[in-house]
């Protein structure tokens, strides 16, 4: 017999290393033509580090996204970063990049103030121009400013940024501490169909809801959410490195037996994004890279309970575990 059930799960997750102390630096160099190069030390592991740093640099300098180049290749050229983990890159590197771009913009303003014969604090950088706020006629292209600054004034238009949250002091007995930058919030809804005779579970629907602080790039976010959810589905349904835990027997040594989800194993997921800005992240952003794998699994397990009244307390929810739990319930 096949039975349908629905389940939900909620969660939260910090951006940056718990306990603080993790550094990222960034450099933004404005070229004589008004384009920019942002250099960071964090890796793009597919999550989109390069895209987000280019977006932040373009936003601050008021130039096109296409006019920004990103360098993050090596430790000879790139500034320090603790790395790409702990959902820290958009937040920590993002802040460093924003600082660096603002620093570069400050230098551009210094140059433009001389050229436009005004004070620096009336200037804004927008539409690839430096212009006097409220007086768009009084403007110069960023290329003109950068060219004149570089060759005419011998300026090096290089902005620097460094963000590091102080390490959190901690009470060893209570663990009272302020260990993280900000929290993002998430919840998932799953609908499943359980075959009570074979124990097979089919995921019919998976909906994910997130607070991301600021959706820096919504397409990006959707991709992260879908990808993390799929990893959550794998852990909930089929993945187990030690299937006869704690024994090492029958440990899968290939990607046929270590069964990560294929196109056929995940439904067409839907997601909804909410923006509750963080107090100090770049543009209010929060990091959600990791937490996307957290709530889909328990939502599926809760949906299985809703369908057939069993609790799976030992992942993954293989057909065998479902059948054994049904037997135990029936007995």
């Amino acid at each position: 017999m096949k039975k349908i059930g629905k389940g939900i799960a909620a969660g939260f997750y910090p951006s940056g290393m718990s306990g603080g102390g993790d550094s990222s630096q960034a450099m933004v160099k404005v070229q004589p033509d008004g384009s920019a190069v942002v250099t960071v030390g964090s890796c793009d592991i597919g999550q989109g580090c390069k895209t987000i740093m280019a977006q932040i640099t373009a936003e601050v300098l008021g130039i096109d996204y296409e006019a920004v180049k990103v360098v993050n290749d090596d430790t000879d050229n790139c500034p320090l970063s603790f790395g790409t983990f702990a959902s820290r890159v958009t937040y920590v590197d993002g802040l460093a990049t924003k600082m660096a771009a603002e620093d570069a913009r400050r230098i551009l303003f210094e140059i433009a103030a001389v050229m436009l014969e005004c004070s620096e604090d009336v200037l804004e950088a927008v539409d690839s121009q430096i212009r006097v706020k409220g007086n768009p006629d009084k403007s110069l292209s960023i290329g003109e400013v950068a060219g004149a600054g570089t060759f005419g004034m011998r300026k090096f238009i290089l902005g620097l940024g460094h963000y590091m949250r102080d390490p959190a002091a901690m009470d060893p007995e209570t663990c009272e501490c302020d260990p993280f930058c900000t929290l993002a919030w998430a919840a998932s809804f799953a609908e499943v169909e359980v075959d009570t005779e074979t124990g097979e579970v089919e995921i019919l629907r998976l909906v994910n809801s997130y607070d991301v602080g600021k959706a820096m790039n919504p397409t990006h976010l959707e991709g992260q959410i879908d990808g993390g959810a799929t990893m959550g589905v794998g852990a909930a349904m089929s993945e187990n490195l030690h299937p006869f835990f704690p024994s090492l027997e029958f440990q899968p040594d290939n990607l046929g037996d270590y069964a990560i989800p294929t196109t056929m194993d995940v439904p067409d997921m839907e997601s909804v994004i909410y923006e509750c800005p963080s107090t100090n992240g770049p543009y209010g952003a929060k990091g959600i890279g990791e937490m996307t794998a957290n709530t889909p699994g328990p939502a599926i397990v809760n949906a299985i309970h809703d369908a057939v009244g069993i609790w799976i307390t030992n992942l993954p929810a293989t057909p065998e575990k479902v059948l054994r739990a049904l037997d135990a319930k029936g007995a």
Binding site: F244, M264, D265, P319, E320
Partner: protein, 282 residues
Amino acid sequence: MAEGEFYRAASPREAAGLLAQHGGAARVLAGGTDLMVAVNKRKFKPQVLIYLGDAGMSGISQEGDALLIGAATPLNEILASPLVADKAPLLATAIKQMASPAIRNAGTIGGNLANASPAADTATPLLVLGASLKLVGAKGEREVPLAEFFTGPGQSVLAADEIIAQVKVPAQSAEAKWAYRKVGKRKAQSLSVVSVAVYCPLSGGKVSGVAIALGAVAPTPLLATEAAGLLNGKALDEATIAAAAKAAAEATSPIDDARGTAWYRKRASEAVVKQLLTELAG
């Protein structure tokens, strides 16, 4: 380092002759989807390879009431064949759930059977359809019913100098009902934990000549003859189905492995046979 010899056999007979000539050092190569995995994992170092791709062993034709499928025919070619869709849709259904499109483009029906894996997914439909194999050796050829081909995990009646040249599949009867189901660790690209094929000719509301085969639950792909015997001449009612499903499960002798436990395989065998028969009765 010896680099070995590579032959392109022009016929099954030539391939068999080369096998005889080179003894244990030689292996035949068709799609390579199993052989090359073993080579890459360094489980096997080829010394002589005999390639079957040019041996005229590929293609599907009809002979009387049977389909003749060259052993080196890629699985996807069988899946795409209108002839197979018409005469042996059960086989096509099973193939569609095998491995992945790219593997099916290279992997052949003969290769799937020759390895004699208990989980070979073409075996269960071919068993219930009463298929037979043409084995070609250096000295001659013989026809072996598939039901007599497998002798154990990775073992068959294939002699050291023999290859499977052709699979003969009796056409399904137009009135017959059939069903196939595979339980794996995931929904695609998965080796079977349990697979079941049922072929069920009907006459006057009663079934006769029914066959049930199960994969991955015994040392060889398994024809559940006792279970089938309980169905012949009967109407497919709930009690009959339950008895047959139980008998099918009893015929299994599964093991624990990376894909599932013996306990689960037995339970799922019964459940899937029951579900398929119920589906056919409906």
